[in-house]
């Protein structure tokens, strides 16, 4: 073998060895576990703590209110749609420092204010023409919208 061929061969081998060694140490072990990405990323993305607890968590303690809700017109509503994110409350229900959102007129109006873009099946009111002297809850029961208070 001529020396120049040998040196070239040595160089190529050197490059290949350096590349495969470096690649081996720089590639995270979970890369390729599920596909062309770092498998551990799935666990890391899944590690974030939820902020919304979900309807089931609310039902565990508030079964009475939950039953009223699911038997009436607002049955599709999640508790947290009106009451706000509740994971902190669900984890520490006795802590008076962890409070849910205080409900306000705006919670009702957010969905029920008349708007030409809203579907026609949805019950809507023009707030300024709709018995403005009272609170919503004086005539309507949010958990049982068909019932009178």
């Amino acid at each position: 073998m001529p020396p120049q061929t040998f040196r070239l061969l040595l160089l190529v081998v050197g490059i290949v060895v350096t590349y495969s060694t470096a690649r081996c140490f720089l590639t995270p072990p979970s890369f390729g576990q599920y596909g062309w990405f770092r498998g551990e990323a799935l666990a890391e993305l899944g590690a974030r703590e939820p902020v919304y607890a979900g309807r089931k968590a609310c039902e565990e303690c508030h079964a009475d209110e939950f039953k009223k809700l699911v038997e009436h017109g607002h049955k599709t509503l999640s508790c947290e749609a009106c009451h706000g994110a509740a994971q902190a409350h669900a984890e520490d229900p006795d802590n008076p420092g962890v409070k849910l959102d205080k409900l306000h007129f705006s919670v009702c109006v957010r969905c029920h204010e008349a708007n030409p873009s809203r579907p026609k099946w949805h019950k809507q009111i023009v707030v300024k023409n709709h018995y403005t002297i009272a609170k919503c809850t004086e005539c309507h029961v949010p958990h049982m919208p068909e019932e009178a208070p």
């Binding site: 073998m1 081998v13 072990p29 890369f31 579907p119």
Partner: protein, 269 residues
């Protein structure tokens, strides 16, 4: 002058080359064995990505534009304040054509104040001028052939086996190619982490058996979420496909979205 290599010398060289070629795989095996004890499991405990296929569907006939979904997404995922949304709502207003015009439909107006997360006020045009108006919630279209994944130069964006298109924040270099590649405008560069961010289908929730935050709070069940691999026929997601005429956004791009819409007009893109 021709150099002569001894048989012994030649064997030695061949041996060295083979050893060099084997060094990589050997080192890899050793390293894998060492790191096996140290590395965490791939996904959340008890969650096997290959056993799920999460999909979402949206029935625009049911969307009332309350904006709870966009608001819940913002707080659930700690999305940076400002014009950054992982899901948002667009209001489409299709005007009546001008009097005497030979067109069936007038101009299309689209708005999304604060991503719709505080709800929508009255439209900017008089109700008499509106031919048709509706809300369209938007989010990652869960493409089976996602352009964003193909555009990522570092393998940070990927299609998870369970159907979510995700970003590995440790690998993302913030180049923004994926943001340009997404035909649905579903990605943004976070001003906090300087990496790309997008809807993860609330990966931390679905792997715990919860629904994504937007689906959880939607008061009218306009958003339907389910697992194609583990759904009974009466599952809401199956019912959605049975009861609706569905369509995907921009089908001509061949992205093959797994997010389906019912009740949207031809003007929606």
């Amino acid at each position: 002058m021709k150099s002569h290599v001894s048989r012994r010398g030649m064997m030695g060289r061949i041996g060295a080359v083979l050893a060099g070629l084997l060094a990589g795989p050997v080192a890899r095996t050793v390293r894998a064995a060492v790191s096996k004890g140290l590395a965490s499991a791939g996904a959340a405990p008890g969650y096997e990505p290959a056993k799920h296929k999460w999909v979402m569907a949206i029935d625009a006939n049911r969307c009332i534009g309350c904006g709870l979904c966009a608001q819940a997404c913002k707080s659930e995922n700690h999305v940076p304040a400002g014009p950054y949304y992982r899901t948002w709502i667009e209001r489409y207003i299709i005007l009546k054509p001008e009097a005497g015009a030979d067109r069936a439909r007038g101009e299309t107006l689209v708005d999304s104040p604060e991503g719709g997360m505080r709800g929508f006020g009255q439209p900017s045009v008089a109700a008499e001028r509106i031919q048709h108006s509706f809300f369209v919630p938007k989010l990652c279209n869960l493409c089976a052939h996602s352009p964003c994944t193909q555009a990522c130069p570092v393998g940070a964006t990927f299609d998870s086996p369970d159907g979510a298109v995700l970003i590995d924040p440790k690998y993302c270099i913030g180049c923004g190619f994926c943001i340009q590649a997404c035909p649905y405008g579903c990605r943004f560069l976070s001003p906090v982490t300087h990496t790309a961010e997008k809807c993860t289908l609330c990966y931390h929730r679905i792997t715990r058996g919860l629904k994504p935050a937007c689906v959880e709070v939607c008061p009218t069940q306009a958003r339907v979420f389910g697992d194609l691999k583990n759904s009974a026929p009466e599952d809401p997601i199956r019912q959605f496909y049975q009861n609706n005429l569905v369509q995907a956004l921009k089908p001509q791009l061949g992205t093959d979205p797994r997010l389906f819409y019912a009740g949207i007009d031809k003007e929606v893109r």
